[in-house]
Symmetry: C2
Subunit: 388 residues, 2 copies
Amino acid sequence: MFDYDLYIPTHVIFGKGRIKDLPAQLSKFGCKVLLTYGGGSIKKIGLYDTVKALLKDFEVFELPGIEPNPKISSVREGVAICKKEHIDVILAVGGGSVIDASKNIACGACFDGDPWDLVLDCSKVEKALPIVSVLTLTATGSEYDGSAVISNPETNEKLPLFGTGILEPKVSFLDPEYTYSVPKSQTIAGAADIISHTLEQYIVKDGNILTDAMCEGVIKTVIKYTKIAIEDPCNYEARAQLMMVSSYGCSGNLATGRTPSPWVCHAIEHEISAYTDITHGYGLAIITPNWMNYSLNEDTVDRFYQFAVNVFDLEKSSDKMKVAKAGIAKLAAFYKEIGLPTTLSELKVCSEHFEDMANHVLTHWQPLDTAIRPVDKQGILEILKASL
Amino acid sequence: MFDYDLYIPTHVIFGKGRIKDLPAQLSKFGCKVLLTYGGGSIKKIGLYDTVKALLKDFEVFELPGIEPNPKISSVREGVAICKKEHIDVILAVGGGSVIDASKNIACGACFDGDPWDLVLDCSKVEKALPIVSVLTLTATGSEYDGSAVISNPETNEKLPLFGTGILEPKVSFLDPEYTYSVPKSQTIAGAADIISHTLEQYIVKDGNILTDAMCEGVIKTVIKYTKIAIEDPCNYEARAQLMMVSSYGCSGNLATGRTPSPWVCHAIEHEISAYTDITHGYGLAIITPNWMNYSLNEDTVDRFYQFAVNVFDLEKSSDKMKVAKAGIAKLAAFYKEIGLPTTLSELKVCSEHFEDMANHVLTHWQPLDTAIRPVDKQGILEILKASL
């Protein structure tokens, strides 16, 4: 059993129509609100109007246009508003990108310097404005954790921002109906994101009965309900199940007591989307099975065997390696079945920057030698080339 | 999928020797500390001295002698100290009883009236002193939730106190080594408590893949590691696994999205221990299999069948009822194997107050008609009589 800290001071309010409590929750933190959102989908589904009506007694400033793979430029814009207008609380209405950007804005507003410095050195994250989130996309789990990912196109960098106990939203409203209009392309990207978060923590040397079961439960849920959500986008049960399990992804629950993981797939995918701006979930869907194949060997077979038997119900056998390989193939087949890309080439990503990407992982990410099969520069390149 | 709130603003710090961070954590809340503990076991294991040494720069007041099934008299004593000495933070060092009493003290200190009134009407719990806990007994999960159970011997009442978002410890130190000296009698009572918390939430009409897996994982962990902890009380891994899963018991995680449960076994057991002061876990071990047998019928068989197959690895069969019954028998056999009592008679509890108990459940507990098989007065008496 490994030591752990578990700390998620977010009040999750889950269910249809529960946004009616937004004014009561927001008012705990003040009356000057920065409303952050993305490209306008919240206007299409009427959520923008709902929120504005609920905020009639608040003073509301807006930061629209936060993009996927959120950029430091949006963060800087938000920080400037917070400082100028003395914002009390940030209301993030959107998916992981909007919430992530809001986290960097929240700590940037309390920091005497450029918010990118906080990403480069997270020990500087000491204080942040409170954040309330309204989730509209099921994927990153940012609504229930204290981390974010921010991109800096000027330096081709996409890096994590950590602030446990500081950056978690104070309150997160999770209403599955807000995800009814999420298109198939984003629903499947979200599925790959949730599964990847889980596998990064599941595929480690030592697990335990409880969190093994949790990880397997998350993945089985995603496999079952993504198919239903694609066929029937307004299926409440499917959208609800996906929303519920996605919150667990990065919350720390799935990692309690397990061998700490260096999140190899995320290390590599962040490089790809920093250089090419591809959808994060697509990159993960491509990288993950190749990382699993790279990691599978005689020493690690037991964990992949367990994955195959418990997640895909493959028959137990004395030939564990065969079953383990079949489990990875099943995952890849699921990704293909729901319409995810299976190679980088499909996304027009070529090998041009692979060397730079590998070097950048080694200098800017935590060491990958704690992975179930240690990964060095050669390993990164091997996984990238297998993904082409 | 049912609506849910999930909110556990407790920072869990898990691992051997991590108490060294106690001064840094406590000092966030002030310098005047009320140290609460039980019958002196923390002195025997040296923890009292450790804590006192760590608190050398704090002003410390003490409330020792908090008993199992903690009494309102201890709570009143603690409230008086808090009010008189203007205590900043309560440091609860002990098991569930010490932490539970501390929760009632914490809100009682901020309440202008008798703390028993807060138990009788939890809507009055609006504010509380911060609590930091150091756990020495693995059972109730009080270290990671916002509820407590308080007894009033004058009125033969044992009632829950709820204060989600207010009564959770701010920080809980979980060091498995502090449970090495817990005797077998309490280790097995803790096992029954954890399993009961889980089954109260698992045996409901509608579950879901994730939390079904979590519940099954908790129970499997308890079954495996309780046996090891009994044989080898200083086995770190066993004590650690039990400590980790016990925190999940009442945290809300196991209930997310499921049919809300009225906690039938707890309703009945609280009556028994209010009248007789028997060990809570013993009462639960006796009641639980009888409640399960009461609840098993053609309409509910699927859930008990799943329990039997997933927790006890019983072979799948078309005769679900037979497998379901065997699963319940397996649980009862496990309780017996580890030395738990299986009948109330063994604890010298007779049927004298059964009528009063049943009446009190119906007037003071939430309605039991939402249970997987609704329970009326006749049902309570049936379960009690089967437990004799």
